[in-house]
Structures are given as C-alpha cells and as structure tokens.
Symmetry: C3
Subunit: 391 residues, 3 copies
Amino acid sequence: MAKNTKPSKKPSPPGRGTLQRALTTGQSQKSLTLGELAHRLGGKVVGNKGISIRGVMTIDEAREGDITFIANEKYSKKLATTRASAVIVSPEFQAVGATLAVAQKNRAGASPAPTRPALLVTENPYLAFARAVDLFKPEEIHPKGIHPTATICPTARLGQEVSIYPRVFVGERTRLGERVVIMPNVYVGEDCQIGEDTILYPNVVIYTGTIIGKGVRIHSNTVIGSSGFGFAPEEEGYFPIHQVGNTILEDEVEIGANTTIQRGALGATRIGRGTKIGSQVQIAHNVEIGENTLLIGQVGIAGSAKIGSRVILAGGVGVVGHVTVGDDVKVGARSGVTNDLPSGGTYLGYPAEPIKKMRRTQVAMHRLPAMMELLRSLKKQVAEIEERLSK
Amino acid sequence: MAKNTKPSKKPSPPGRGTLQRALTTGQSQKSLTLGELAHRLGGKVVGNKGISIRGVMTIDEAREGDITFIANEKYSKKLATTRASAVIVSPEFQAVGATLAVAQKNRAGASPAPTRPALLVTENPYLAFARAVDLFKPEEIHPKGIHPTATICPTARLGQEVSIYPRVFVGERTRLGERVVIMPNVYVGEDCQIGEDTILYPNVVIYTGTIIGKGVRIHSNTVIGSSGFGFAPEEEGYFPIHQVGNTILEDEVEIGANTTIQRGALGATRIGRGTKIGSQVQIAHNVEIGENTLLIGQVGIAGSAKIGSRVILAGGVGVVGHVTVGDDVKVGARSGVTNDLPSGGTYLGYPAEPIKKMRRTQVAMHRLPAMMELLRSLKKQVAEIEERLSK
Amino acid sequence: MAKNTKPSKKPSPPGRGTLQRALTTGQSQKSLTLGELAHRLGGKVVGNKGISIRGVMTIDEAREGDITFIANEKYSKKLATTRASAVIVSPEFQAVGATLAVAQKNRAGASPAPTRPALLVTENPYLAFARAVDLFKPEEIHPKGIHPTATICPTARLGQEVSIYPRVFVGERTRLGERVVIMPNVYVGEDCQIGEDTILYPNVVIYTGTIIGKGVRIHSNTVIGSSGFGFAPEEEGYFPIHQVGNTILEDEVEIGANTTIQRGALGATRIGRGTKIGSQVQIAHNVEIGENTLLIGQVGIAGSAKIGSRVILAGGVGVVGHVTVGDDVKVGARSGVTNDLPSGGTYLGYPAEPIKKMRRTQVAMHRLPAMMELLRSLKKQVAEIEERLSK
C-alpha cells in the first residue's frame, strides 16, 4: 500500500505546520502595531504606538518584534535586559517596577537591551497576555473526513465536517457532533455522545455510555469512564460491584494527559461546565464537580465526593470519599481534605485546616525541639524551688 | 475499504448495547419479585413481597421498580423521600434508622415518596447490593474471533473463543487462554501467557514475558512489565541496570486505568490472587503483594517492598523500598510507610504510626500555639518566684 | 489478509525471543569463567577463578552457574544459603559480612548451600552487578524497516535502519535519526526530531514540535508535549492560554511509563542530558531540569520550576512552581518543596526542611502528648507554689 511506504503517494493528514513554525520561532505571519494591539487587548501604551508586533514570547527569549509580559514582581529586573519590543504590565508595576528596573539596570550594569521596550499597561496583564497569545497563535488545522483505517461501527452517527484520524474506533450507536476531531488510536465505546467542536488527542479512551459536551478537549492517554473501585467483602475475598453508571463531561471541560475519570457505580460521575482538570489526576466513581473549578496535576478525589464551583485544588491535593467541598474553596498543594469544607475558605495541610491556623502550627512545629528544652529546664527549676520551700 | 467508511457494510464488533441501555436507564429487561430477590440475596422482606423489581439504582435516582440500599447511617433520612420500591438495609438500621427516618420525614416535611418503600433486611447490605447489581446487570457480550486488522505473530497460540478486536498486537510465542478478550489497540509482547476469561481493555500494554492468570481484568492505558528504575552511579552519570525479570499477575487480579506495574530487575514482580488495584497506581520492580489485598488509587510502592495478604492501602499511600507490610494491615489515606509493619494493625501519617497514637499527635499539634503561650507564661512565673525567694 | 489470520503466513516482527529466554531462565547462552568476569568488571576473586558463570540472578533465586550480589548488609546472612556459584561483594563485606554470615549459618543451621560460593570483591558491587547484567543480557533485536500498516506522512524523513512497528503514526516534517525504534501504536506529531538509537515503546504519544536527542528511551503510554495547565481568570470562567512552546529531551534521557511532560507555554520545557525519570511523573510547562538528575516515580513538578544537575527527588516528591532547586540536592520521599533550595543539601518533609532538623521535629511531634501532660502538671505545681508564697 503506497500510502504506507516512504515517501507516501497518498494524501495524509495535512500539516499543523503553521502551528509548528510558530512553535519553533515564537512568531506567526501576523503583524499588528502596538497601538492596534492595545486597542484589541484593552490598555494604554507608554512608548511608541507604531512599532510592529509579530509574536508573544517569554521575557528571556523575546526578540525584536515580540511582546512579553511581567505578572510577577520577581521578574521586574528583567525589564532592563529583555530584547522584547513591548511588555504588558500592570499600572502598579508601571509606577514602581519600571523605575526599580531602571535603577537595577544602572546598578547591575547588565548588558542593556538595544532599546527600552514600550509598555502596554492594563489592569489584568495575565489576561491580556493570554489574549495576545490567542491573537498570534496560528490556526490548528485538522483534515476533514474519515481516514480509511478508522473503524466506524455501522450504527454510529457522525456530524458534518468531523476529522477522524487513522485507526480511530467509534462504537455502535455513538454520536459525534459537527467538527469533532478524533486523533489517531483513540477508542470511543458504544452509546457515547460527543458534542460539536470537541477534540480528543491521540490514544484517549472513552468507555461505553460516556456523554461529552461541546468544545471539550481531552489530552493523550486520558481514560474517561473506566470501571471504579468497587468490591464488597465476603467470607473469602471480594464480590465485584459491577459499575453500571456512566460519566458526563459538560461543555468546555478541558482535561490533561494520563488522567482517569471513573464512571458511576450507579448513576453518573459528573464534571461541570468550564471545569479544567490537569494531568495525572484520578477522579473516582460518582464524584460530582461544579462549574469553572480547577483541579491541578496529580489531584485525587475519592468516591462520591462533591466539589463545588470555582474551587481550586492545587497540585497533588487528595479528597476522601463522601465529603463536600463548598463553592470558591481553595486548597493548597498536597493537602488532604478529610471533612466537609464550607464555601469560600482557604485550606492547607493534612488534615486540611484553615491556612492561617495551619501556618501557625507549622511554625510552632519547627520550634518543638526548643520547647522541649525549655520544658525540661522549667521542670528542674520548679523541683528546686519546691525543695527549698520544703526546708 | 467499505468497512471503514460510514455507514459500514462489514460486520463490526457487535453491541454491548444491552449493557448500555442499562447504563443509561439503570434498569435491564429482567424482573424479579422482591420475595424472589430476598430469596436469592438472602434476607427477609418487611413490606410487600410481591412487588416487581427491575433494576438497582442510587437512593437519589431510584424510580419505581428499582431497589436501592442504605449502608451508611448518613443517608438514613433519604428513606423518607426515595422513590425506590425497595431498600436493602441492616437489622440495626431497620430498628433505628427506619423510625428515625420517619421522624425526620415528619419534621422536615420533605416531599414524601408516593409509597413507603419495602425493606430487604440482611446482615450485609453492601454485599447484598453488589449481588443485586450482578443479578440485574446485562451480559457484556464480545464478538468471538480475530479482527482482520489485528497483528498476530506466527508463533502465537490462541485458545478457543477468543475475542481479538481491531489493531491488537500479539507477539511471538505468546499464549492466550480460552475466551480471552483483547480490546482495540492493545499491545501484548513476546512470550506472554494470558489465562482464560481475562479481559484487556483498550490501549493496555503488556511487556515481554508477562504471565497473567485466569479471570484477570486490566483497564485502559495500564502498563504491565515496563522497565523499572535501575541505574548504578558511575564516575559520571549512571550505568543502566537492564531489567531482565518479568511480572506475574495471579488469578482474579483486577487493575484500574493508567496504572503501572514494573517487571523485576531480576526475578519477578508478583501480584497475588484476588488482589484489586486501583487507577494511577505505581508498583516498582520486584514488589511482592499477597492475596486479596486492596490498593486504592494513586498508591505508590517502591522497589522490593513486600505487602501481605488482605492488606488495605487507602488512596495515595506510599511505601518505601525493601520494607515488609504484614497481613491484614490497614493504612490510612496519603500515609507514608517507612518501616516494616507487623500484621494486623491500622496505621496513619508520615511516617506511618498506629492510628490512635497519630490521632493524639494530630490533636496535640493543633494545640501547639496555645502550648507555647502557656510555656512562656510559666517561664515568667517561675522567674518571678525565684526572684522573690532569692530576697 | 493472511498476515492477520492465525497462524500467520506473513513475516512479522521477529523475536525478542533471546531476551525472553533470558527473562524466564535468568541465564543466557553466554558463559564466562569467574576469572574472566572479574577481569571485565574489575575486582579480585576469592575462591575458584575457573568456575563457569552463565547468568545473573537474585540471591534467593540464583542457581548453580549464576553470579549474584550483596550491596545491602541486611542480606548478608543469605550468603550462607544462596545456591549462586559466585557473589559480588565489597571489601568491607568480605572482611565483616562473610564471617558474620558463616557464624549465622552455623547458628541458624539453615539448609546450607551445596558449596560455599566464590566471592568477587570490588569497590562498587552495585556497579559491578549492573555491568554483569549488561554482559549477560541478550540483545534486544528489532526488525528493520517500516511495517505496511504504519502511517508515515509524505514530508517525514527517516534515517537508515529504523524499525517502525505496526500502526505507528509519524507526522509531517518529522525527522527520525538512524536506528530509531518506534513500537506499535506510537503517535509522533508534526515537526518533531528524534535522535539516533532512541526507542519509543508501545502507545507513547509525542506532540507536535518535540525535540528528542540520541539514545533516549521512553516507556509505554508516556505523553511528551501535551498542553500545560494555563487559564487566565476573566469575569466569568477562564480564558485559555494557548500553549505554543515545545519540549526538548536531551541525549540519554530515560523516561518510565505513564509519565507526562508538558510543553512550554512559550519557549521550551527542557530535560537535561542523562536525566532519568520514573513512572507516573508529572512535569509541568517550562520546567527546566539539569543533567544526570533522578526523578523517582510519582514525582510532580509545577510550572517554571528549575531543578539542577545530579539532583535526586525520591518517590512522590512535589515541587511548587517557580522555585529553584540547586545542584546535587537530595529530597526524601513524599516531601513538598515550597521554596528555593541551595545546592548540595538533603531535605525532608512538607514544607521540606534540612533532614536533621526535620527528623528532630518528627521525634518531638510524637512526644507532644507527653509534653502536654508535663506542661499541665508544671502549671499546677507553680500555682501551688505561688499560693504558698502568698501566705
């Protein structure tokens, strides 16, 4: 088969080459004046509105024609040395950081940038930066149609303009919405629904009965709807609890790589609209997560836990089964949530406690050896006193 | 190739559609009277033996015709509002919970269930529930035969009635027992043995030389027998220790998704009969695990550790290398086992300590700031006393 | 297609059968005298130089003709019972351990080995053992050429003597060096570079724009270059920060199974030459890791952290974003690094502290309940004293 020998004669999935050129150069073919950019992102220019911006890059790697940003004071001194043509900053930074940077530049005598970069001043530099990347990012183009090596079961129904890459499997009665992209070696089981504009990256596995909304992205080797951990002890060994529920991912959910979400034992495991989940995350059966919640990498959530909306669980946080975490709760990295948490607080540690309390405890912990010393000497003193008094 | 275009002409893996209807409705085509069900599960009925049960569902989502269960007192009040036709409960619950539930119902005035559900009273409600799910679960049907896109190496030997899905790879000299099911994109290396009735879900990878028993289930993207972490420091950098051992999974082992079990450096990594392993678990080279042990999600076990039988390691527990954990040990979530643990105890924390001791320590920790206060004031008092006495 | 039916007529990837015979017997076809072996590994023989060594095995499983090693005093007593023909030991062990072992042998009266094993005495037994395994390990042979079911995009360029297994995908403009091995179901995106002698195991996914050096090994289901976790909060929900950077793995990097390395948001995520990464590891965008560093299983490193060279992070260690860990730092299992760490220290705990300090703190923690007791009784005594004095 000619298409499989090299060089190939047969048309094969065309390039995300544009994306790639951007990946390697940090610049696309697009170009905007700094003035136009400020208008699109919202913000005012300090410096030359007319300069041409062709890409976004980190402050260290930026070259002429790039715009970069400083969201973290820690990096303010770099303003003196960056080769970027423009820098997105906050009003506070403009007031303090910029002058600070110049002072440091003079002090440190660091090899100076050829020209002082212009500033794009905005209330939310991080959001402006994100929008700038979006403006300059090249289109991610996927070929329309179904590759001949894909297996589409007879009763599956596919929407218009889908992109089905080589060796994809789509099970019986599964429905794909318009413009769905399924990359190589993805398995989608029977009776699934996948909403329009959703992208599944290579080697993702979607188990039977999963329901996925619109504009969802799931990265490689993530598994949705595998069987949860359910075993009832009997005289000897365990009786398996067949997991006959399913998994529901609402619109605009994004999931990283090598993450696992298990289907409900009965009923559903549910991830709410706009929630973002990192890589290497484990979510057990019948967990319910609200909207616009962030779960960073390596988070683990045990069965039937309920997590609210706009919650942030930092990297490696664990949540035990059957607890409820209220809306807008924040939990620090590697903490262990062992009880219900009311809405709105910030927690740390294992068991997770309000962060101020936990910090005091941590400080005290490191004074423990000294405390023990003091305690011993006091004991001695008191003993001596009692001896004197008893005479 | 017609089979790859849509709609497909070629027979393709037939449905687990029955399963799916169950997945979406929670009910199958089967129907039993509550009396028959009580007879099969063991237990006595309080209420109408004649009512027809057609499925099992959670207490919140149950409808007429469903049976549900209450294993956790926490949910007892739901008895007043569930729409289930019957509820599996323990004798204690029947005595206490039921009346409690009614009381709460009257107090709360919650929208009442149309009819009070019948009770199925049994010593082990959780096991009875598991058996009920098993009774009503539809068969998971896999098509027999070998899909034409699978690669079966010439010297591989396959048992009767195997189901080999598209694009499976089976290496040289590998033997598959009867009724083995291997789903799409699974890779099985050379010289493996897989026992009868074992199921490998999509994208599982089995490295060369792995031995798998009967009735084993391995979920998607799990890797069995990859190379362990062995590097001997030399003058500069590391000399790789080639991992030439293998991996042995005994009968009825079940493994979740995205889990990794590494082959022995020399000799074998061994998982004992009936042991159940969750998702996102990492088991290093030459670990030995006994029978009917439970490792929940995100557990990590370092090289050459020995874990006994009927052990339970809760979510995220870590075990360091070369330690021995005795039979029937339980370790609480996120604990770190750094030393040998004798049989039968329950442990918590890092380093893991007997749970009662650890709980006292945790309580004391949170009193630390107060203790420091008290200590300072005592120091002051004692100083004053000494001053008075010295006069 | 005959090649897909069983038994197959078509030549298919030939065996790593030699490897496998070694896997199951622990011995290869090679044979060396102990004298020759000592010469090759460096070290002196105590005992019969002439005996024939045909393989390497663990001290428990070794048979006649095997050499084994004792690196850990803990196992010294096994010298009395091993059936190995020879044992690699350190000079210290020879002086102490050997006689100790004999003493224990006499005391324990354990069923003795048929003959006392010869000793191969060397300064670095572990390295000598690694080299012995390397000497006896059979070649891992991969068939040269491109399997007809692989998809090689037209503009991809492949070096001489590559081994491309079934159903591999190689994207546009990607370049593979000489002797690269890509096993079944691997996806390599567009515009990647993969250096000579690199091996990708089954189901690995390499995202667009990844650059991989020479002699790299990446184990199954690992994902390189997936999109990092970048979302800028806006009025409602989050604005995605498109991750347009890439990932660079330098020469001789080795990566375990089910690990995730995310590409840079802008610029690159970089793993330095000779660094070894375990399984189930999560490395976030723009992390930079030096040379010959070891990251054991389940380590997690947050965005933009910088890890030095020759660092060792034990299993499950977490590192927060934007911190710097100096060269030669060691961090104990499950610790959490929350601040910059200077070069060369050893740290433990969360937050990670110098190990000696942390051990003192841990000891003190477990004395806390006793301390509270003492504190209460002192308080009482002092109160009594004051009362007496006030009279």
